[in-house]
């Protein structure tokens, strides 16, 4: 890995060098290195398999420049990047690309000036940057072993699946600009997301483990949790279509956040008119029980960063307070475009996340960090369940998408595991996966939240950006459709 000091030297050199070039009005330099290692797991008891299917990695390092030029066409903004070369030559090559592609973007106003000091420092684990290959591969096998141990002790030998991944991500970045930004950041993430199935019983369970430091990382616990949940949901029952009182677990809430709520509260979507909340700033848009905020500086969570990819300190941004719309997610670009008078955007969300790190090959875009769904008067899960005579506990969903555009609020989502029937105020029988699809409107669902649980849990969504910390949420009348498999006739 490139030393953090080298990245920092590169961006400072870049600002000095580029600022001295003819026609340059302003510059922002961003350098990063990402090491992304993944053990993808695949165990199938009835089909030949590799166990650890893909011990793999991607690696990238380089520099990206955003440059404002004074040209004949007026003030032009260009972006250029150069992988693998943090030297003067690499800087000049990136500058040449930025100059070539510069356009008079009327929405760009300025690079952000410095805004205080970050609250996080030295929150990463340096050992993860130099983890030996044998230790990396062993983490993958530990995750798998955690699941297989539970399944084996339960006496199961056939119809079993264990999948998922154990991921180690090390990120280093530095950013400097002619507006005075001079910041750097290092973060490390360990994650395990595992799924276990007893396919013959149509039972599926999920387990997670996350940490910022290797010493606290237990992938085998994710495996064991997934397997235990699969065992607990064997022999599931199906329900007919209808509107049921439901308790959404942390994963379905995170699925809603990742695919809808986060977008609906982002200034980019609000400005475009694509959000159902456009024009409703200050109004009550959700249940008064709900508080929603993003906090990139929360210590110990894997979505935390000390600074944004624009060099601004991260921190808490309140978005919804007691159901009222009070803030937005925003990068500097969109905050400047829309202006400070509307939505009161604090640009704490300008990130360059790509698959596996902070990418020098793209400009900042609005992204979540640690997204919290919280609220007033949380109660233990047992109390949320207590008032439900006949309902559903939904533990895992997927394909959760707005099906008619975000603004309409319609969404569809299939219940695929970790779910139960609620009868007489208690979880009784498992719900058979893939037999119910949620077909409702997320604006309505969030307006109708009647309770939240204590003990929120951090959750990752497949291909999602950022971490969601969510409690269990009670919704009185969620509409679900019965779906099933028509039997295929034989020839």
């Amino acid at each position: 890995m490139t030393a953090a000091a080298q990245l920092r030297r590169c961006v400072r050199d870049a600002v000095r060098l580029v600022s001295s070039q003819p026609g340059v009005e302003a510059v922002e330099a961003f350098a990063a290195e990402n090491a992304h290692r993944i053990c993808r797991l695949n165990y199938t008891s009835d089909i030949p398999c590799n166990g650890v299917e893909e011990p793999k990695s991607t690696h990238e390092a380089g520099l990206g420049l955003q440059v404002v030029f004074q040209a004949k066409a007026g003030r032009c903004l260009g972006f250029g990047s150069e992988p693998g070369d943090l030297s003067r030559r690499g800087i000049l090559r990136a500058l040449e690309k930025a100059r070539l592609g510069a356009v008079p973007d009327p929405h760009f106003k300025a690079f952000p000036p410095p805004q205080g000091q970050p609250t996080l420092s030295k929150y990463h684990d340096p050992r993860l940057f130099r983890l030996p290959e044998k230790d990396f591969v062993a983490l993958g096998w530990r995750g798998l072993r955690g699941a297989l141990g539970v399944l084996s002790r339960a006496g199961l030998r056939a119809g079993l699946i264990v999948g998922g991944d154990v991921t180690i991500l090390g990120e280093r970045m530095a950013v400097a600009s002619s507006a005075g930004i001079d910041a750097a950041d290092e973060s490390t993430i360990c994650m395990a997301t595992l799924t276990a199935m007893s396919e013959r019983d149509a039972a599926k369970g999920t387990g997670w483990a996350m940490a910022t430091h290797l010493a606290a990382f237990r992938p085998e616990r994710a495996g064991a949790q997934a397997a235990a949940s699969a065992l607990a949901t064997r022999g599931g029952a199906a329900l007919p279509s209808g509107a049921y009182p439901v308790v959404l677990g942390p994963q379905p809430v995170a699925d809603l956040v990742d695919n809808m709520i986060g977008h609906a509260l982002s200034l980019d979507q609000l400005d475009a008119g694509a959000s159902p909340y456009t024009g409703r700033f200050g109004a009550r848009i959700m249940s008064p029980l709900l508080d929603i905020y993003d906090d990139g500086a929360a210590r110990g969570l894997i979505g935390s960063k000390a600074v944004t990819c624009e060099g601004l300190p991260t921190g808490r941004a309140d978005l919804v307070r007691a159901g009222r719309f009070v803030g937005v997610l925003a990068s500097s670009y969109i905050a400047n475009k829309v202006g400070p008078a509307y939505y009161r955007a604090v640009p704490r969300h300008g990130f360059r996340f790509a698959d596996g790190g902070r990418s020098f090959e793209t400009v900042p875009r609005t992204s979540c960090t640690n997204f919290f769904v919280a609220g007033a008067r949380p109660v233990p899960l047992a109390r949320l369940l207590r008032g439900i005579r006949r309902g559903i506990y939904i533990g895992r969903t997927w394909y959760t998408y707005p099906v008619s555009g975000l603004a309409a609020g319609h969404y569809s989502s299939t219940i695929v595991g970790d779910s139960y029937l609620i009868e007489g105020g208690r979880l009784t029988r498992p719900l058979r996966p893939n037999t119910l699809r949620i077909v409702d409107n997320f604006v309505r669902v969030l307006s109708d939240v009647r309770g939240l649980s204590t003990r929120p849990r951090p959750v990752l969504v497949w291909a999602g950006q950022g971490l969601v910390v969510a409690p269990h949420v009670l919704v009185p009348g969620l509409r679900v459709e019965r779906i099933g498999v028509a039997q295929a006739p034989s020839n």
């Binding site: 793999k56 044998k134 997927w398 779906i483």
Partner: protein, 517 residues
């Protein structure tokens, strides 16, 4: 500044890379290795609400390596993005990557060996790849209008001119247009002696827009036009037969019309539905033997934690191979040579592309394969392993897949419906995990009465069991069209791959989905 990334620049390293693969055969423990080295050059331009937003011209270099090593054989991988400064030491970088992949494979093999003795360890096997010829080939791209001939100013000007804002279209409250064109060269080498040097093209235009009438909920719409070709794709040589500008005008007019249309009420049960080729493209993609259920990695349950399994294959002794999965009118082909986003000559394992029928007259005949899945299932590899980025591990991907054309003209299919619904243009899917049922929304839904199109609705779609839908197909049109779908997601980290899916107009029975928000 002399070093520059170009597709031609790879030639200087070709011989040394071939020699490296020859040397690698002797590395201790290594049983097999392959490597993909890709140089790509691209240009793009985009506009936001008709004003300039971004433009650029860049080139990228990256490689991905796979090694099988140890006893039992286990896989290891490595991927890295490089830059122009890395070119002089490209061979050394690839060698370093291969050695890391070898370390991982050997280490994993040792764990593998220990676990094979445990009660659940019997399923662990020594990784095998189906044998394929070690091809040596050079394939050149031959665009009619080279991506390299495009100027950024011209691309940018077209993005701005095609914007609904340029025509001051009423009711459009937001829009973005973008154009991209590029040329890539991939060198595939293996320790079996394969050396495939293949160029490919990609050109695409995209429009995203939102229209609003009065206080109505805004209508959001987007679509793509493109081909595996040069700039000619923007000038009418595409599935629509339209220029990018005309494509944008039509999509804008459609969106504005929808913004003032009533919401689809839906139906309580299955009704006669006629689906146009664009809507059917997503149904094929998500639910058919030309789509996700027929990808052999899902069949083998490798995507259980991510993109899901396949209901075609509960297990080796209980599956739908050779059984009826659709009406006798339905034949589905996977075709790497068809002119859409999945067009390729060789896949990312060096396997020649093919034209294979996976569903013949409604009977399931086979799957899309990698070399490993073909070896496990005792079938033949068929050129379906792809990684959209060389640093990523290839996955089984649908290339171009389609329902073969039938005998009924589409107008006759519409005329045949006394009381039903017409679904045009695909929008968003929601699918159960093994693909056994689906909800797919359409851009436009029309009532059909007495063979004629009636009221237009927004927000409609189909909800159906997969078997029930495909078995109910009773008319297949003559108007096959294959559409590029640029964003098929799979794997971890998520790989977004362009694929091609198509169908003629089809008549079937399903419930129409809809509800006013």
């Amino acid at each position: 500044m002399a070093l520059k990334l170009t597709v031609e620049g790879l030639t200087a390293h070709r011989a040394a890379l071939i020699r490296l693969m020859g040397r690698a055969k002797a590395w201790p423990g290594l049983r097999f290795a392959d490597v993909r080295i890709v140089v790509a050059q691209a240009k793009y331009g985009s506009a936001l609400d008709g004003t300039p937003h971004a433009a650029g011209a860049d080139a990228s270099l990256g490689f991905g390596a796979r090694v099988l090593a140890g006893e039992p054989a286990a896989p290891g991988f490595f991927g890295e993005r490089l830059g122009a400064a890395d070119l002089p030491r490209l061979v050394a970088r690839v060698e370093a990557g291969l050695r890391i992949a070898l370390d991982r494979a050997r280490e994993s093999s040792a764990h593998h060996r220990r676990h094979m003795a445990t009660p659940l360890g019997r399923a662990l096997y020594s990784t095998r790849l189906a044998p394929v010829p070690a091809v040596r080939a050079r394939i050149r791209a031959r665009p009619k209008k080279s991506p390299r001939a495009a100027t950024l100013a011209a691309l940018q000007a077209r993005a701005e001119a095609a914007s609904p804002a340029a025509a001051r279209t009423p009711h459009v409250i937001h829009n973005s247009t973008s154009l991209v064109t590029g040329l890539a060269r991939r060198l595939f080498l293996s320790t079996e002696g394969a050396c495939i040097d293949e160029e490919s093209l990609f050109t695409q235009g995209m429009l995203f827009l939102i229209a609003r009438k009065g206080d109505e909920i805004p209508e959001e719409n987007y679509d793509y036009l493109g081909a595996r070709s040069g700039l000619e794709a923007l000038d009418g040589r595409n599935v629509y037969g339209r220029t990018f500008e005309e494509f944008c005008r039509r999509l804008t007019a459609e969106t504005v019309e929808l913004a003032g249309s009533p919401w689809c009420p839906g139906t309580p049960g299955p009704v006669a539905v006629v689906c146009d080729p664009h809507f059917m493209a997503l149904v094929v993609h998500e639910t058919s033997a030309g789509g996700h259920p027929a990808e052999a990695d899902r069949v083998l349950k490798k995507e259980t934690a991510y993109a899901g399994r396949s209901f075609y294959y509960p297990g080796p002794s209980d599956n739908l191979l050779g059984k009826r999965i659709a009406s006798p009118l339905v034949t589905i082909t996977i075709d790497t040579s068809a002119d859409s986003y999945g067009k390729t000559v060789y896949d990312d394992e060096g396997v020649a592309g093919t034209q294979v029928v996976t569903c013949q007259g409604g009977i399931l005949k086979g799957f899309m394969h990698s070399r490993e899945s073909a070896a496990i299932l005792g079938m033949l590899p068929n050129g379906c392993m792809k990684a959209p980025d060389p640093v990523h591990v290839p996955l089984v991907r649908m290339p171009n897949t389609y329902v073969n054309p039938g005998k009924t003209p589409p107008a006759a299919i519409l005329r045949s419906v006394r009381d039903g619904w017409y679904l045009c243009g695909h929008r968003t899917p929601s699918i159960s995990e093994s693909r056994e049922n689906f909800t797919i929304t359409a851009r436009r839904t029309h009532r059909i009465r007495n063979g004629r199109l009636g009221q237009l609705y927004r927000g409609g779609g189909l909800i159906s069991d997969t078997h029930a839908f495909w078995r109910s197909v009773d008319r297949v049109g003559t108007d096959l069209k294959i559409f590029g779908i640029p964003n098929c997601g799979k794997g971890v980290p998520m790989q977004t791959c362009p694929v091609g899916n198509g169908s003629p107009t089809v008549r079937a029975r399903a419930r129409v989905f809809g509800r006013k928000p």
